[in-house]
Symmetry: C2
Subunit: 555 residues, 2 copies
């Protein structure tokens, strides 16, 4: 049974409410910045960062972070201003997670898959004063900067692991500003733990992206949350398969330093380089979308290498099918399924494992593991609610509601967007927009995004359920469904599918397949073949599919 | 190199300082109470508590805690009032760590080794309204209550593992109030994370004990700190060899629940029962004073049992000698040395291990391991300073200063004692009163309590160093030294030693032994034989020895 709580204050006449105030000795703001100070002091010679031939000890890494902070201050950055970074998972990006806030500024890690117009929007809206930019992205950044009206100082990152060309956009390079900076710079800590540390833009599947603001307290607690969820010991070796522009690499730039581990950088996420790191660097932990698992499982023999250690991988987004989980286990990699959003520092729920599940069949176990699960220890509240009444749904595995969250895992709000912030926090909970059921054991399972649900004759149809049925057709490699406006039923289902190369499945054969899989009213009425439109982060752009479906309905 | 920091505020014109305030969705007070809610919800059937034949699942344990909170409220406890507990490490004591604060009250765990007068002082000063008292301690509690002027409601804990007699002092028993209480009671959370959660009295080696107040934020962070320091995974099996009245069992009642582990209770700390728990309950972690190690190493063959698992033990107080560490390793128990005080929630420093130390000789390694080490990740500041100037001593392993601490690990202050609080926090640091050096690697090593240092001819003499030399004499089993007033040198050293049974070492032979061990001016001038006077927590009462030494000097 989940407990409810009510808050209580100690009255002023309580002896505990007298003469026992905060002071410099007994109170410090929570921040992840002091993790680096401690680890560099205790383990100065331990390996902090691996990047190709580059190996940085914690003493060297901490010095580079201090130099970066000093250089940014030297370039004129003021407290509470923004420093943007456009770079893959390289040391400069890790250093920015410390150096930028150590200068009192806020880190805005940019999604390097975005187009110039989106980047321009973010640079304008996020008010970046300085941009650290890897030369690989010089063309798109040049185009973006041409669309930005405000002055931005560009510092070029010339990474030796990038084969080139190295087109320089600014007047100085990253290594040059570090070289000229004071290694004994005294870093800034936040005076208030609620101060912003990072700005991360949502992927904007609808309209302009929103700027999600994280604070020092949340970054500290979420970095710790990762340790707790994984039961992580000291000195992990962490492989950077998850982009750091995603929710600050889900806060692992701070977690790994807290545990005095090693960051193994990766400019490009490819099967061969992942196996190389597993075999030669002794990687123990990694995170990534299901596509990374696919990459490993479908690797060619010459890309593979054996590794002796037990490896843990966290995966978010869609739930891994049973077959994938089994193959990953055979490879020596234990997969933990988590779920979250940019607004909650990345993952905020975990499908916490139960020993009893080991005795289930592989399919039954996969069904358990596919669920989004329970709250992170640092998320104080998680429930599935009817958003109109804010009452929790019963734990029956059937009643659909919206996933609501509150606590340490939840953002400060959206930058310069008080109405969106107020809407997201309506009723004292963060509204995820994800529709789910609550199972008898309290585990949450997502059924759909609220805007993706299809309502046919008053019945809810989960787009995820229909897409699952489509995926089980042997010829389908990609699938998405949206509502097809219908005079009689209000909406019916329209499916968009991509077939594997050479396959020739017909519309009627796919519809027949679905009839065997799901209830009749959920079966797609129309099948459209072809590639699916996607965002830079790989999410299907359903609003485009909806437009196509609307046209089909009018035909 | 240790980094310094300076605080910075984001100015009001920063976009991050606008419209991004705390609210019910994105802010929750830190407290360890929600650990229990989460673990009971996620793992209701896991084993929470073992006590003799009693086995409580997390669902049952959480229900008992809710019942306790409801019962306390029913007995009239008000928010911000005190509930005292006099009990060994039994389930009721664990339940009090949740049930008392879940009633909005503050837990005062009493040291069951105290005499009636000391207990009376604490009950009076701590303003306990309710006392939960194990029947084993009925005689001393009855005597204490006779000396207390304020009304205290007594609830008797009748533990079936106590062989009796069960003398009842109150009108009701612990099980009776739980039985009659609402299992669906909605627990209280602190409105402010700075609210008090516990009150722990110092052992009072000089004068009256002081009431150290802990808050919810600190209890949460220190419980997490234990996980971080030990690199603790999920589901530890923790043996209760450390009394819970010591700094709330160093916060492990909360740590173990956070990690969904099992508490193995222990009414009496004896070799046979410890080995029994190691072998039959699969204990993985325990804490305790060096005396517990001695108990294990000196156990008789019939008390011993084999156990297959690797076990971790934390020990505080005096540093374990090389021989003890080696024998513990041979037993399968890895020892971590920590250091702290009641004022800092128990341990606040740890001798963090370095792989490179494995290649040292056993003696060299023991010398490294005997140090008090570095700060806990949740202690933001640790240094050794000249207390008169508050400047750090050089990291030379030689210059003595006072250990200073600040951050999350530091108490709210002393209850109803603002002058002692102000003195303890003078200059923005908590003054530990322990004298230490800082080694080149930044590790701190205690040389003495500030009041125990002996100054002879202007030279500091560490009482710990002289006592170490005495302990290395084969016939000495207990030793303590204090200053002997001296006309010429100001002070010289006076030693008090206890010889092992049957030993007949003379004063001159012990002095001769010391001449081979330490510098001449540090060698004791007088040796007094006999048992040493100790406090209820086993600390030598040096003030008594000083009185004896003063008499000797006047003779």
């Amino acid at each position: 049974m989940t407990m409810d709580f009510r808050e209580v204050a100690h009255p002023p006449e309580s002896p505990y409410a007298q003469n026992l105030d905060r002071n410099a000795a007994n109170f410090a703001p929570l921040t992840p910045l002091t993790f680096l100070e401690r680890t560099a002091a205790v383990y100065p010679d331990r390996l902090a960062v691996v990047h190709g031939a580059t190996r940085l000890s914690y003493a060297a890494f901490a010095e580079r972070c201090r130099r970066l902070a000093a250089a940014l201050v030297g370039l004129g950055i003021a407290p509470g201003r923004t420093v943007a970074v456009m770079a893959p998972n390289i040391p400069a990006m890790l250093e920015a997670h410390y150096g930028v806030p150590m200068a009192g500024a806020v880190l805005n890690a940019l999604n390097y898959r975005l187009d110039a117009a989106s980047i321009a929007f973010i640079l304008e809206h996020g008010e970046a004063d300085i941009l650290l930019s890897d030369t690989e992205f010089a063309p798109v950044i040049r185009e973006a900067l041409a669309q930005v009206t405000r002055p931005i100082r560009v510092v070029d990152i010339v990474d030796p692991e990038h084969p080139g060309p190295h087109t320089l956009l600014g007047e100085t390079t990253y290594e040059a500003i570090l070289e000229g900076a004071d290694p004994a710079f005294v870093p800034f800590l936040p005076e208030d733990e609620w101060q912003a540390i990072a700005l991360n833009y949502t992927s904007g599947t609808t309209g302009n992206p929103k700027g999600v603001v994280y604070h020092h307290r949340g970054a500290h607690l979420n970095a710790v949350g990762n340790v707790l969820v994984w039961g992580m010991g000291h000195h992990p070796v962490y492989l950077w398969t998850l982009p750091m522009f995603h929710c600050n690499g889900w806060c692992f730039p701070w977690t790994i330093v807290l545990q005095a581990g090693t960051h193994v950088c990766l400019r490009k996420v490819e099967a061969a380089s992942i196996f190389h790191a597993l075999a030669l660097e002794g990687v123990t932990h990694l995170c990534g979308a299901p596509v990374v698992m696919g990459m490993l499982l479908n690797a060619r023999p010459e890309e593979r290498r054996d590794f002796p250690q037990h490896v843990k991988m966290m995966t978010a987004a869609s739930a891994p099918p049973a077959a994938v989980l089994q193959k990953m286990e055979a490879l020596g990699i234990e997969v933990t399924h988590v779920y979250g959003l940019t607004e909650v520092y990345g993952p905020a729920t975990v499908c916490a494992f139960h020993e009893a599940w080991r005795s289930l069949s592989a399919t039954e176990r996969a069904a358990k593991l596919a669920r989004q699960g329970v709250r992170y220890p640092v998320l104080e509240g998680l429930d599935v609610m009817d958003p109109s009444t804010m009452t929790p749904v019963p734990a029956d595995g059937a009643t659909i509601g919206e996933i609501m969250m509150r606590g340490h895992d939840v953002m400060k709000g959206y930058l310069k967007n008080p109405s969106a912030t107020a809407q997201a926090f309506a009723g004292g909970w963060f509204h995820t927009g994800d529709l789910a059921v609550k199972h008898e054991d309290g585990y949450v399972e997502i059924k759909d995004r609220s805007k993706d649900i299809i309502i046919s004759g008053g019945e809810n149809i989960s787009s995820i359920e229909v897409e699952g049925a489509l995926y089980r057709h042997a010829d389908v490699i990609d699938a998405a469904v949206v509502a097809l406006p219908d005079e009689k039923w209000g909406e019916t289902v329209c499916a968009f599918v991509t077939l594997r190369e050479g396959a020739v499945a017909s519309e009627s054969s796919i519809i027949a397949h679905c009839r065997n899989e799901i209830a009749g009213f959920k079966v797609p009425r129309r099948i459209v073949f072809g590639p699916l439109p996607k965002t830079s982060t790989g999410k299907v752009q359903k609003f485009q599919l909806r437009e196509t479906a609307a046209k089909l309905a009018n035909d």
